[in-house]
């Protein structure tokens, strides 16, 4: 059973989660975001079902896909009901990175992996999600939303379970290795995500510096040219650029 227990990190973060879920507006928005994540997960799984050559796996993936789209439906319905009750407005910070949905930041390219690696990946990802959802279920203040998580968690237990048994079935010799590889690849991907985000930020800073240092002069010229432009049709030049030109 310890497989399904929340890892310590999630438990340590419990007060943070409690804070995140306290605000009803934010809660509703988060549920809608979760709905989109579950729906995406469902699509990945249906793709996996379409790609596998193992009939039993196909049926399980299809069932799993159905579960995920059902979860999407549950989240969406609850989120919408809450939003409708709250009325408009409430552009609250959603704190997505603090409380990710199922599959969290894991991205999956179903086409590129073999069944065993996919199962290992799904197993880990579902396990983490189940742990996370347990914490959410415990800290969320309103009973109806808690019930949604309770309902979904029942399926998640099945997902965690079948991915493991199927992994052992199709890769009896190397299921442990596959799990380790999946773990390593999740870590690597996590690192890549952080690194890419950092690089992105750095790029933004550099571009912004150029924007404010280099662009003003050109901007002046561009604005002046824009003022000269008359509204309406632009005649097309007689001499059209040839197809060789990119300009």
């Amino acid at each position: 059973m310890d497989e399904h227990r929340a890892p310590s990190l999630e438990r340590i973060l419990r007060p943070v989660h409690r804070w995140v879920w306290r605000d009803a507006h934010r809660c509703a928005r988060k549920l809608l975001t979760f709905a989109a994540t579950e729906a995406d997960g469902g699509r990945d799984l249906s793709r996996a079902a379409e790609l596998t050559t193992d009939p039993l796996l196909r049926r399980l993936f299809l069932r799993h896909a159905l579960d995920e789209s059902h979860h999407a439906e549950l989240f969406r319905a609850r989120g919408r009901t809450m939003l409708a009750a709250l009325g408009g407005g409430g552009g609250w910070l959603e704190a997505r990175w603090l409380t990710p949905g199922e599959r969290g930041g894991d991205d999956l390219r179903v086409e590129d992996v073999k069944d065993a690696s996919l199962l290992a990946f799904l197993h880990l990802s579902e396990k983490v999600a189940a742990a996370r959802f347990e914490v959410y279920r415990d800290v969320i203040p309103d009973e109806e939303t808690r019930e949604v998580f309770r309902r979904i968690l029942r399926d998640e237990v099945f997902h965690v379970h079948y991915t493991r048994t199927q992994l052992e079935r199709i890769a009896p010799e190397r299921h442990r290795r596959e799990l380790w590889l999946a773990r390593a690849s999740r870590l690597w991907k996590g690192y890549l995500r952080v690194a890419t985000a950092l690089a992105g930020r750095l790029g933004t800073v550099i571009l912004l510096a150029q924007y404010f240092l280099v662009l003003p002069l050109f901007a002046l010229a561009a604005k002046r040219a824009a003022r000269r432009e008359r509204p309406g049709w632009s005649e097309r030049q007689r001499e059209q650029p040839t197809l060789e030109s990119q300009y």
Binding site: L60, A219, A222, P231, S245
Partner: protein, 591 residues
């Protein structure tokens, strides 16, 4: 000449192959990658096209990209400069987007396909739209109007196309409207304001419009107004799309129309807010139509031509197309099955063939079925592996009779036949079919299959020979109906018997089915009519919400398994859902 056309990097990317002047295949990347609106470089689509034709990349004479990347880059830069310093937020993102793959298309094509740089050509974005509209149409000589969000600079062009008796072709674009003045941006801004996804939810705006009164039409007219020379301009005070990447509209727009609808918020037409959104949609739709009618009327007067070819994403607006046909004075209006950017892959290839290389004109087959074929054997294998019963119809007649019987009994059928369509519409080769008779069926499809907003109507399909009986088609209406490009009234006496496909305003986006191009689908409609008295079927695209239309049998099968579809058909293979499903328990036991 073997010419590959490519469109990519904006909405749905696509590839098309033209050999000796005729299209051989064309497909959107999303149909193969299975990522909806996939805008990545269409490598899978290119590979499939080359495979299908048995060609190696080095055997290509040219690869044509559908727009001029450097001019586009220029527009993005200049727009940022003009909006300085308000563009500071969007500038880094815009640069990162553009300086990545998008600006270096030539290098990407050369490296990914291994084609020498000298063989890589670039049409203008609106040349591609114009070619996709004119060169695929049967018109000898036609006026051309293209309108979309934006290409390089142009957002709308007018011109003319002609085919001369000696086999030469010409497309001359006479004038253009430039960014930020854009009918497409105008409509998308309101799409976003109404809480729908841009480039995806535009037709929801059109559907919603029928529920409202155009009580804001005057205000909208002031925002999209004619210029002295007969063009259009946007009052930019109401828009922010050219200034910041954050929001398309400005606070002035909110002052006039009220707060926007936040995405995900339920849209309840019984509430004052819901009513207001419907009224805004109705007003925006009305003004878009009015302006298009004014433009096309003037174009008709100027050219004196009888035929009009429409291209660009705006040509997906079936209500506007029908009004253009009715009111512009043009006798025939041609809209290709893929007027948007995906169709530009084909447009660019044809443009290069006819205009750049001066290839002899050849009439392009008048259909949309350029994608990959369906393999009935694949469906059969999958169903048997899963223990489902498989029926193989001995012939077309038997197939059609059997499926018609099921449809008449109120069952929902996933229908795959031949090659998949190019463009956003399912035209009977990858369609979900059902009885059009009652609104209950519409609700059931929305609930169990499409999982989507209810105010969007489903489309009917009707055999060409009897279309006029059920729908009020003006002269030329059947032509627009060929690719579901027009919205027309359902005849009042049939509305109650066509409840699932008749919109609240009594109209339908009808597909008029030609027996020459879709013999099986046409026969199915007749067989259904023989049983029910009305040879009309509800036809909606074969996909679940958020997914691309199915291409291959396996995707049709998986869609069937994950939804309320009762029966799936590929070629002559029929698979029905087992009545009481013990599948779930069996799987739990195995797992």
């Amino acid at each position: 000449m073997r010419i590959l056309g490519i469109s990519a990097h904006y909405h749905d990317s696509a590839a098309a192959l033209v050999v000796d002047g005729l299209p051989v295949c064309a497909i959107q990347e999303e149909r193969l990658s299975r990522r909806k609106n996939d805008s990545a470089f269409p490598l899978a689509a290119v590979e499939w096209c080359l495979d299908e034709a048995g060609l190696e990349p080095e055997e290509l004479d040219a690869v044509v990209f559908y727009e001029k990347p450097m001019r586009k880059l220029e527009r993005i830069l200049v727009t940022a400069l003009r909006a300085f310093p308000r563009s500071w937020r969007s500038f880094p993102q815009a640069m990162k987007n553009t300086l990545g793959e998008k600006a270096w298309v030539k290098g990407i094509i050369a490296s990914r396909l291994g084609v020498p740089a000298r063989k890589i050509l670039f049409t203008e974005h609106h040349q591609s739209h114009a070619a996709a509209a004119f060169l695929t149409s049967p018109a000898r000589e036609a006026a051309i109007l293209t309108a979309d969000g934006v290409g390089e600079w142009a957002t709308l062009t007018e011109g003319r196309g002609s085919r001369s008796p000696d086999g030469g072709c010409a497309i001359e674009l006479l004038r253009e409207l430039r960014f930020p003045h854009s009918l497409g941006m105008f409509y998308s801004t309101f799409t976003a304001y109404l809480g729908f996804e841009v480039n995806e939810g535009e037709y929801k705006v059109m559907g919603l419009a029928s529920y409202g009164e155009p009580r804001f039409a005057e205000q909208v007219r002031a925002i999209l107004r004619p210029t002295a020379d007969g063009a259009l301009e946007l009052d930019l005070g109401y828009f922010d799309f050219h200034l910041s990447g954050r929001r398309a509209w400005s606070s002035r727009l909110v002052d006039v129309f009220g707060p926007p609808r936040s995405p995900g918020h339920p849209l309840d037409l019984a509430t004052p807010d819901g009513k207001r959104f419907a009224d805004v949609a109705a007003s925006v739709q009305r003004v878009l139509e009015d302006r298009l009618v004014e433009l096309t009327r003037a174009l008709r007067r100027e050219t004196g031509l009888r035929d009009l070819c429409l291209g660009g994403g705006v040509a997906l607006n079936g209500c506007a197309n029908a009004r253009i046909l009715n009111e512009s004075g043009f006798e025939r209006v041609f809209v290709p099955p893929a007027p948007g950017d995906a169709g530009c892959a084909l447009g660019a290839a044809l443009y290069a063939d006819r205009i750049h290389f001066g290839g002899r004109d050849r009439p392009v087959p008048d259909h949309a079925y350029w994608g990959c074929p369906v393999d009935a054997g694949e469906l059969e294998r999958l169903a048997r592996e899963d223990g489902l019963e498989v029926e193989l119809a001995p012939g077309d007649r038997a197939l059609v009779e059997r499926v018609a019987e099921e449809l008449a009994n109120g069952r929902i059928v996933g229908w795959m036949d031949g090659r998949c369509e190019l463009g956003p519409r399912a035209l009977g080769n990858r369609s979900i079919l059902a009885s059009p008779a009652s609104a209950d069926m519409r609700d059931r499809l929305n609930r169990e299959v499409k999982f989507r907003e209810e105010f969007r109507p489903f489309a009917p399909a009707v055999p060409a020979g009897v279309a006029d009986r059920y729908f009020e088609l003006p002269p030329g209406g059947a032509r627009l109906g060929r690719f579901m490009s027009g919205v027309f009234p359902v005849r009042p006496e049939w509305r109650s018997r066509l409840g699932a496909v008749t919109h609240v305003d009594g109209t339908a986006r009808v597909q008029v089915v030609d027996p020459e191009v879709s013999p099986r689908f046409h026969a199915l409609l007749l067989a259904y009519g023989a049983r029910t008295g009305i040879p009309v079927l509800l036809n909606t695209s074969f996909n679940l919400s958020g997914e691309p239309i199915v291409a291959r049998a396996v995707e049709g099968y998986s869609t069937f398994r994950r939804s309320g579809i009762d029966l799936v058909v590929a070629g002559r293979c029929i698979v029905a859902k087992a009545r009481a499903s013990g599948v779930r328990r069996e799987e739990e036991a195995v797992s």
